[in-house]
């Protein structure tokens, strides 16, 4: 028996072409969490992009909601082997948030209320592929799923889509985050099955 019981069990490897290798389809939305669920008031919530030169760009909840909103419909893939197809979200594109941020950084470290971190190449937050999402399936994102707002980067394994996101630090050097310092892959492409270091 393995030393880690997977969060959720289900059907074994699927042959469905719509799924990355090693994934099975779920209709549920499993809740995974590495700690207690932070409860963040919208009155005090803020999102901060910190550039490598120390400049900080801040948005309150009201300021975030006043930005242009997008409604991505995306497939999501969790490294614990479940995938959920056609999920609908609402949020603000990172392209919008990064517009006007003066940076030469190539890496990003997302950080969350509660202390979670995850790293991504900055390019993966651009090009209409990443959002700060606050609405899921037409309703405010529940705290269990990362509300008030979470990062949504669906082309990478879902641990990169940091729940309770509070900000992004732009960095000239790659700095591995919470799971990336404990054996998980630095990049995490589900279609290349990059689950663990060396995959």
């Amino acid at each position: 028996m393995g030393i880690v019981s997977p969060g959720f069990s289900g059907r074994p490897r699927s042959q469905e072409p719509a799924l990355p290798p090693g994934q099975y389809l779920t209709e549920d939305f499993p809740v995974l969490s590495a700690g207690p669920t932070p409860r963040v008031s919208l009155d005090t919530w803020e999102f901060v992009i910190s550039a490598e030169n120390g400049t900080e760009y801040r948005w309150s909840w009201q300021e975030l909601m006043a930005l242009p909103q997008e409604t991505p419909m995306v497939d999501i893939h969790c490294v614990t082997h479940w995938s959920k197809l056609g999920t609908t979200w609402q949020g603000v594109s990172l392209d919008t948030l990064l517009d006007g941020v003066d940076t030469g950084a190539h890496f990003a470290l997302a950080h969350s209320y509660g202390g979670y971190t995850t790293n991504l190449p900055l390019d993966d937050l651009r090009g209409g592929r990443a959002w700060v999402a606050h609405t899921f399936d037409g309703a405010p994102l529940p705290a269990e799923h990362g509300g008030p707002a979470r990062l949504l980067v669906p082309h990478l394994y879902f641990w990169k889509s940091a729940k309770w996101v509070r900000g992004i630090r732009l960095k000239t050097m790659d700095e591995p985050g919470f799971w990336e310092t404990a054996g998980y892959h630095d990049y995490g492409d589900p279609w290349r099955e990059q689950r663990y270091q060396g995959d």
Partner: protein, 97 residues
């Protein structure tokens, strides 16, 4: 939606036996963050996650992370200053004549 629950640190004993022969449930650990020292069995373990995350019951800092790949495992105990493990009484050798 329900609040994410955690298990007590006794559940770490089985998984850790794959790595160590020590019975972790009888060991004491010191939290690197707040300094609280207590039974490893009292940790709060979050298992609905890509790995096991054991947190200090006092300050909720991460003390132990254990990730299991099919053929490898990673153990991160940077949040534990020390482990105190019960040992069999050391036999005292007789004084030389």
């Amino acid at each position: 939606m329900t609040e994410m629950s955690y298990l007590d640190g006794n559940m770490l004993d089985g998984p850790m036996r794959e790595l160590f022969t020590v019975d972790l449930s009888t060991a004491m650990g010191r939290c690197e963050n707040c300094g609280m020292t207590g039974s490893m069995a009292s940790l709060h373990v979050y298992s609905h996650a890509p790995g096991l995350v054991a947190r200090c019951p006092s300050c909720e800092s991460v003390m132990v992370r254990l990730v299991r790949a099919p053929d490898r495992a990673w153990l991160d105990m940077r949040g534990v200053t020390y482990l105190q493990v019960p040992m069999p009484m050391e036999q005292t050798l007789p004084e030389p004549l």
